[in-house]
Amino acid sequence: MIINGVTIDATFAEAFPMKATRAIITAQNEKWAMISAQAMTGFATSVIACGCEAGIERVLDPSETPDGRPGVSIMIFAMGGKGLAKQLETRAGQCVLTSPTSALFAGIEGGIRIPLGKNLRYFGDGFQIAKVISGKRYWRVPVMDGEFLTEATTGQVDAVGGGNFLVLAESQPQALTACEAAIEEMRKIPNVIMPFPGGIVRSGSKVGSKYASLGASTNDAFCPTLKGMTKTDLSPEIESVMEIVIDGLSKEDIDKAMRVGIQAVCDLGAANGIQRISAGNYGGKLGPFHFHLQEIMA
């Protein structure tokens, strides 16, 4: 398949079941909601070393937030519920409870309820106050700038992690420009996050390494400088490859995000140095979710 001169590989991205949750951070203004959200979702690019994958889903209008203030919706993904709950609690405690004027709310109704502020309340040293409003329990924790308001729990749901596509371009600036365009469009899609810095990752990996202690290492087949040294997957004109990884609440959400992302890349087309779109997989053996690029773009 070729779109606007860009070859869509007949391959697929392979993704895994994950557990996900969403939280809403509000603050006096968008700036402080965003600062808190960024901190909470920082250092959360890959479950391999961060314990979770997290990202900002979108900015929320005051009319969309529980307390009528500007807010940011964040999502966290992890391989299991236990790890997810731990990450959520640790990050909320360190990055939201601490952040001026912030408040923290559930982003998912239903699901399995996992602690959001339920245990953070103990920071209140007995001065904390519970409030049940419309069936939801909130905790009011006294802090130095006033009160930290947090919902007691949020929902945990089954989700999908590891959707991805690769952008193969003739130059590094062209690859980056294309990926940026993709991310801009993908951020408009609900229920997904792109957990890497700025949503773009340049260090795609393969399973295994020559070093026994490492489980993954650089994806040499897509490293342009190794074209002559390894079993490369790159044609000679490709000088730079970047990847966008997507975690979403469902396969359909990731489908949508991939489609708008790839489309944005293709809109730049061959004229802007974009050669190919490919994807990472493990031969279909490891993950039950397969995103066939050509089907998505059909």
């Binding site: 307390d67 519970a130 049940v132 419309s134 009011r140 006033g146």
Partner: protein, 270 residues
Amino acid sequence: MSALTFKLKQRPDQRVDMSPLVCHQLLGMEPLTIAAIELQCGKRKVRVDELFSLSGFDTQKIVIKNSFGKLDYIGKELSEGSITVEGDAGAYLGFGMKSGAIKVHGNVGLYAACEMKNGYLEIDGNAGDFLGAAQPGNKMGMKGGTILVKGNVGERAGDHMRRGNILIEGDAGDYCGSRMTAGTIAVMGKTGRFVGYAMRRGTLLLWNQPQLQASFNDCGAHTLAFLPILFASFKKYDSRFAETSAAFNRVRRFAGDMSELGRGEVLVRI
């Protein structure tokens, strides 16, 4: 199906225990069976049809017409359906109600919503003492649900309250929120003396500055983030509490009762 309607024929002198006439007890009952139910009235047991004329069939929608202040225990342990009271209700209205809705067009007596667990109770008129309280000897009053009173309430509203909301559009008598353990009582009108007496936890949300006792300490003026959420939850009621202009988030906070746990709060609108 039309609402099952009990129209009081004449007012007995003695109080009537209405607890058998509640939706879940009448479910599936034929009108003739209902008519033959005996109600305790003073020493007597009186057949329903001796006191009331009956019409309608829908046992999940009960209307009591010509009601007056000696009909006690209306809606006792109501667990589904709705009851509308046209007129006044006696003591222990909605005693231990678990779900559903009760609406009273008139005034209600002592201990309305006593030990209420959930559901919605709306009173157009005034409520007597011990609204949402616990029976003598019991330690736990209202545990959930919402009470809306458009008129005034008597003394000790929310005594031993544990959870839920009591919304009062009018005034509250003395000792409003006494011995509260948690929950919220909001009073748009005036409050009497000894607000929150011996309260352990819980919130009294007041539109007007009360005469506070010395065992409550001023914690200053604050903007509290939970208030907009609380007010948003009132939007669904047919009440002045639902009006956008009613909402505020700026309050002066008083903590007490220091004689007790001291973790309760009186929030006064500023």
